[in-house]
Symmetry: C2
Subunit: 148 residues, 2 copies
Amino acid sequence: MTREHQSNPADVLGDLIKHFETSPEGGIDTASCPVRDVLDRIGDKWSVLILTLLAREPKRFSALNRVVGDISKRMLTQTLRSLQRDGLVERTVYPTTPPMVDYRLTDLGRSALEPLAGLIVWADRSHDQIRQAREAFDHKGEDMPLVS
Amino acid sequence: MTREHQSNPADVLGDLIKHFETSPEGGIDTASCPVRDVLDRIGDKWSVLILTLLAREPKRFSALNRVVGDISKRMLTQTLRSLQRDGLVERTVYPTTPPMVDYRLTDLGRSALEPLAGLIVWADRSHDQIRQAREAFDHKGEDMPLVS
DNA sequence: GAGGTATGGTCTCTTTCAGTTACCTACTAT
DNA sequence: ATAGTAGGTAACTGAAAGAGACCATACCTC
């Protein structure tokens, strides 16, 4: 009861929501919302995985490609580019032959690890519960439309 | 140097990565990865926003529709259904006429608020830096292909 | 000099699917 | 008759993702 009063997530989020409610017509201005902006980025299929793989040490393109396995080189390039563009990842080319490239987190990228780790730990811990809820839901309503 | 030793995000993530590296052929088994599973869910366009809006108190369908504004009813229904399916949101129908429906977070849903708030706060704080990195990147390489 | 290996990509084609628009139900209150 | 509930349905569209060929360079081998 003591520490929750100060840092209740609902309050934090409520304040942020208020902060985002700056659009003229009473609705939330989703277009300029920084949260949307960031979530669009890390919500893609590979970004979080790449970030976590780079957490410990820099890795080369081909190393990432080997570790992930089911990512195409195209998607790996694209993901790394957009992480680089957002300043989360730094790309270094070594002038050898054949040229060697490695990718490492920037300070900004490293600062993202903490919130991401929180989310990932939550996901890992809640996964069973979510799967159970899904099964229960799917069994209960044998007649649910909309998702068919 | 003292507390970082215990809870360094890179270490947490490294351990988790190791934990997920259970596929036979040395690659990460992205299909059964709980993180991927969860991120696919909250990575969509509306889920996080809805969750944060429900953080303070239950809300009715039309209230959510009004607040968000640029969401279609179809997407709102769909988002709420899948949140309900995953056990994050509870749907209550009151037998009035016209029937009234409200949506509230479950305990599981509430437990997601903390990691989400962490991410959202990070996003809010880092947004400027990310935008700057983007602009710098876009100006530096006037010849970047791939994203055209 | 033909072929193989390796690096770090790029290009094009195709499919898939999230999201949108627009119109529908059924009921009631005014 | 019109608006407000809480949705459902169908058709369309654009972006994301996947598959897989290709490329430039250089080294090694035969």
